[in-house]
Symmetry: C2
Subunit: 321 residues, 2 copies
């Protein structure tokens, strides 16, 4: 079996689409093989540049990511796209979406697109996204674009995994920029004002710049605002240049290493949480057992701490009850 995993790893490194797809499914389903595979691939990673693209629904994220991908492909860089939708419980629709999006890149083996959605009752989407990014990195994608709807902590966790975070806005989505989620303002390395040919774009840009002038620059980097009309391919080159400038800036400063360590701290916690939950409740009958205990607690037949101790004792994680 380990032999066949090695073979699988080799095929992933060669960029084999079927091997990649099967690996992503294995990660999503918490298959034990996926861990062994990633362990084998890990030394081959660290070369990809991860760009996270986030923003409210309707800001044009997938169009922008599409155009940015085409830009990188034009420069002979291999591209991987991970489209994450934490609000969607199943990925059936997402997969259909992938097929439609891939049509624009038909026959291009340097381009890989995959959607991911929340699965199961144990969560862990940020962990899964990070692992898929590692996989694409090992497969030789120099540019990995992670696209996610900016609606919550989940998405913030997802884009925080990226080397560069692009936050998208469009005119007319809010009277007031102050309504923008505070968290998004803080994580943005670059702000994209898309649909910038619309009314209100100048005002939004002014507001955004005024607000950004209040934000402390990190290691001398002031988050710039880039105007785009992604649907007309306008501003895409400028955005790619700004991303490249950001990358260079952080590679020159010592910040890049610090950011990578912070990133791995988060990922190790995610991985730890996910692995422990999986061990505690992931087996067959895990959800049924949880439901049973929840019923007893709801009826005050058992206190929640004892219920948790029960789960731990049963899963061999040891209870202190």
């Amino acid at each position: 079996m380990s032999q066949s995993i090695e073979n699988w790893a080799q095929r992933v490194c060669a960029g084999d689409v079927r091997a990649l797809s099967r690996a992503i499914t294995a990660i999503e389903n918490h298959e034990p093989d996926s861990e062994e595979l990633l362990r084998l691939l890990f030394p081959r990673t660290g070369k990809a540049y991860l760009t996270g693209v986030t923003g409210a629904p309707g800001t044009g994220k997938s169009t922008l990511v599409d155009r940015l991908s085409a830009h990188y492909r034009g420069k002979q860089e291999q591209v991987g796209v991970i489209a994450v939708d934490p609000t969607s419980p199943y990925s059936g629709g997402a997969i259909l979406g992938d097929r439609i999006r891939m049509q624009g890149h038909a026959g291009d083996s340097g381009m890989f697109i995959r959607s991911m959605a929340t699965r199961g009752f144990l969560g862990g989407l940020a962990r899964a996204t990070a692992e898929v990014a590692l996989l694409l990195d090992a497969a030789g994608k120099q540019q990995v674009l992670i696209e996610t709807v900016g609606v919550g902590q989940d998405e913030i966790d997802i884009v925080r995994l990226a080397d560069c975070v692009v936050v998208m806005l469009v005119p007319g989505m809010g009277d007031d920029i102050q309504n923008m989620k505070a968290g998004l303002m803080e994580i943005g390395d670059i702000f994209v004002l898309n649909k910038s040919d619309r009314e209100g774009a100048d005002r939004l840009e002014q507001q955004l710049n005024a607000m950004l002038s209040l934000v402390m620059p990190r290691e001398g980097w002031h988050p710039p605002v880039v105007r785009t009309v992604a649907s007309e391919n306008k501003g895409i080159d400028a955005l790619a240049e700004t991303i490249a400038r950001f990358r260079k800036h952080f590679e020159a400063s010592g910040e890049r290493k610090r950011k990578h360590v912070e990133h791995w701290k988060l990922r190790l916690i995610e991985l730890l949480e996910s692995r422990l939950l999986q061990r505690a409740l992931g087996g067959p009958g895990g959800e049924a057992r949880l439901t049973q205990l929840a019923e007893e607690v709801a009826e005050r037949k058992k206190d929640p701490f004892s219920a948790v101790s029960d789960i731990l004792a049963r899963s061999g994680l040891g209870g202190t009850a």
Copy 2:
């Protein structure tokens, strides 16, 4: 020691403010005593009604919660308020805020207000909020109001713990209601249109009703829209009546039990996660050890799976490496 915890529990049940405050601090700091305390108190809980109030910054949540509290106090009901701000890393400012808010209720022993913010690197704010709610329940607060900024998954996790979820909106915060976080739309049992004397209120109410008409009613409950001007105490009685009507509706249907079981499933997972992480990394030197491993992984000296196995082996949670 167990003797003194029993004494502490008795004082909490008697509504002793100092005992309550100390218990909340113990919960926030993951002190082992807090678990023993909650275990003792658990059989005394289940009487409080938990109302979650959420909405974007600037919708007037604290004013509304304040007026609603005064309404319940006027009916001789004891009230506990938990104000949660997941975006604030420390609670220093929050505690100052509590003092200011308590001034309006000075000398009223039937009223308790506490702010909570994210602490430490292991998170767990939803778990802590839920435990504080249990504490207030045991302390005889019949109405527990949980107020949180509706910006992300964290807040959604927090308000999902409530029996009734009130989502607040104000006119002029967005051109279009479709920008409202999808998650909020789904969790709202009651929608409050605050500052409803402002321009745009009628339009927002129409949009909201149109959108709500598309949402499947749960067990025959159609989420209603209540108009308020909290700062002028307008609409507060109507809101309290709507909450009471919702409570009655769900107690009559079988839905309440099902909701409680769902609620306890979430809480058991939270508690499990929190306890396992605490055991794996919560001790002295835990964060330093995590940083060290993250550095090794960032430099590709170690793969993340082996790093997690190291943490598990060291904490006695067993590694399969």
